[in-house]
């Protein structure tokens, strides 16, 4: 490979760019995708440092004692986004909520990924009854009205909320009911790859099924999995917001949905619902356009 053995003409052969480098080059040229990355980065920053930046602790009715309740936005700069009648500072609450919403969004997606990739890979790779069974189970979970069942669970296990496990409970249920989409994507890709030459060749030299699946098939389906996972994070944040908005979440943990619910109780004080609402829209938008951008970068054929 090195150039010393060819004195006549020093070959300028470079290592061909990896799939990831090519995708990154394509991704960089896509302005919307970069915007998505920036937005997601911004919210990730809020998730990590939000509690530190926030001027007041989470769920602290600061204004209840000092009498600055129900302030409008941009009036008093120690409460830039206004306050609630109960005395919460909106700006502070939004910052404090970021980590909780991201925790549910990311955690639930990881759980769904774990189940979805395993089920999808097995259903795609195996043939016969077990594959059909797995596919059937995925289809059943796919058509379940997820939000309704999640709300039921959240209501029934309300005792867990009381001991501070509300977010974890919502994350677990979202994860346990959100995997069929990923399973379908993985299954489709595995079925496509299963019959390709390099897998047949690997099988011909006697590789085990586990080796074929994890060394050869899974690395090749990482890109659709990453795309789908990014979009799933967005969907999970939306569902978490809906659960909290409906009053099935933990009233003692700051989340954007809880703020929106509190704002909805006082529609004359529009800023209580609108600012956390914007946080929801932009964070979800960020994950959505990042996912679209990644999809375009991995599959240039879809663009043009």
């Amino acid at each position: 490979m090195s150039g010393q053995q060819a004195p006549v003409k020093p070959p300028t052969r470079r290592r061909s760019a990896s799939q990831w480098a090519v995708a990154w080059r394509r991704f960089r040229r896509n302005k919307a995708a970069l915007a998505g990355l920036v937005i997601v980065g911004f919210f990730a920053f809020l998730g990590v440092f939000g509690s530190t930046i926030a001027p007041y602790p989470a769920r602290d009715p600061v204004c209840f004692y000092t009498g600055c309740t129900s302030l409008g936005p941009f009036v008093n700069w120690s409460h830039p986004l206004g306050t609630e009648p109960a005395g919460y500072d909106i700006y502070s609450e939004i910052l404090q909520s970021a980590k909780n919403d991201l925790y549910v969004g990311l955690g639930a997606t990881l759980i769904s990924l774990g189940i979805g990739v395993s089920v999808g890979a097995l259903a795609g790779y195996r043939k016969g009854t077990s594959a059909a069974l797995l596919l059937g189970i995925s289809q059943i979970f796919f058509v379940l009205p997820a939000l309704v069942i999640i709300l039921l669970f959240a209501r029934i296990f309300v005792t867990l909320v009381a001991v501070g496990l509300g977010l974890t409970l919502i994350m677990l249920i979202l994860g346990l009911f959100g995997w069929p989409g990923i399973a379908f994507v993985v299954r489709g890709e595995v079925i496509r790859l299963r019959e390709l030459e390099f897998v047949q060749a690997e099988r011909a030299i006697g590789a085990s099924n586990t080796r074929i699946l994890y060394r050869h098939i899974v690395p090749n389906i990482l890109s659709p999995i990453i795309v789908f996972a990014t979009l799933t994070i967005a969907a999970n944040i939306l569902t978490e917001v809906a659960i909290s908005f409906l009053g099935f979440g933990d009233p003692n943990t700051a989340t954007w949905g809880l703020l929106i619910q509190e704002g909805f109780q006082y529609p004359n004080y529009w800023w209580i619902a609108v600012f956390p609402g914007l946080a929801v829209v932009f964070s979800v938008l960020g994950f959505n356009i990042l996912g679209d951008g990644l999809s375009d970068a991995f599959n240039p054929r879809l663009r043009e």
Partner: protein, 323 residues
């Protein structure tokens, strides 16, 4: 046609395991919530042993849980969803709830397809034009916004601030109605919820139509049609649109099913007295028979939508039946 028939039967058979799975799941969850007697007893002081025994036999609590499941399933299949813990037969109230929910869903489905298809088509035909960029940007925003959030914005602006439209309920609780007409009153009430639902579902359909039309316009047969000198509108509407619409049909069912599942949030925002709104109220009150009944009915309605679109797809695209 034999292929189509066997396809229909296969799809119908799929409904049965889904139905059983959902019924077992909701039954287990409802039983995990506790015994209905404990929930009722908050309202009954100094219960006598004979009353307790009567309640126990009414809810079959002396039977094991597996037997109770089959008793419940048998009742369900006979159209008996039990009694609400707060009074009233659940089955008798179910039909108005379903029709109220469907009213909102179907109005918004018609609006979003009627507006979304032309927009998506225009956007694809003028790809990367200013209009296309605006449409794509707007649709990704719509796609990222929960229906209830748009609902809250609409209520704040049009109901609270401007006093133009009612933002709560499906009819005015008082007379006189709008311009003295009950129908006008109902229309006025559906405007805000239908707008909120439409704005989000339009975004879904526009993205889909645009992507599909772009995909179809790149096909060789479109090139061939252009080369043979067909007019552009004939290529777009007669050749491209037909093939671009077919995959959309499948997604309509899934999208409506997902909006039905999201009905609790949408309907609660507008106090729209359909399945979703009743579900939230019943779940918060632990009114288990209502909760079980609504969960089953939402699943069935969603399944019907998915099934109908599946069949429409098989009818439109013969290749589907073979797989």
């Amino acid at each position: 046609m034999a292929g189509l028939l066997s396809y229909v039967i296969r799809r119908l058979l799929f409904v049965i395991p889904v139905f059983i799975a959902v019924s077992i799941l909701t039954f287990i969850i409802a039983n995990a919530a506790g015994s209905p007697i404990d929930i009722i007893r908050h309202a009954i002081q100094r219960i006598t042993p004979s009353q307790l025994a009567a309640l126990q036999s009414f809810y079959h609590l002396n039977q094991p849980i597996t037997v109770r499941y089959f008793i419940w399933l048998n009742d369900f299949l006979h159209g008996n969803l039990g009694q609400s813990l707060y009074g009233g037969s659940v089955s008798a109230q179910m039909l108005p709830w379903v029709s109220t929910t469907l009213e909102l869903q179907l109005v918004s489905l018609a609006l979003s397809l009627g507006i979304g298809i032309p927009i998506g088509l225009y956007s694809a035909k003028h790809q990367y034009s200013k209009t296309d960029v605006a449409v794509t940007t707007a649709s990704i925003f719509g796609y990222s916004t929960p229906v209830f959030l748009i609902g809250i914005f609409l209520i704040i602006v049009f109901s609270i601030d401007l006093h133009w439209l009612p933002g709560n309920g499906a009819v005015s609780p008082y007379a006189p109605y709008w311009w003295g007409s009950v129908f006008a009153d109902q229309v006025a009430h559906i405007i805000l919820p239908a707008t909120a639902l439409t704005l989000v579902s339009i975004a879904v359909y526009v993205r889909l139509i645009r992507a599909n039309v772009l995909e179809v316009l790149r096909q060789d047969y479109i090139l061939a049609a252009r080369a043979s000198g067909l007019r552009e509108w004939s290529i777009t509407y007669k050749h491209a649109l037909k093939n671009a619409i077919t995959p959309v049909v499948t997604v309509v069912g899934l999208t409506v099913a997902s909006f039905l599942a999201g009905a609790p949030a949408t309907e609660t925002t507008f106090g729209w007295p359909g399945l979703g709104f009743r579900f939230v109220t019943a779940a918060l009150n632990l009114d288990l028979p209502v909760v079980q009944g609504i969960t089953m009915v939402i699943t069935i309605v969603a399944l019907v939508f998915i099934l109908v679109t599946d069949l429409a797809y098989a009818f439109l695209d013969p290749r589907v039946r073979l797989s």
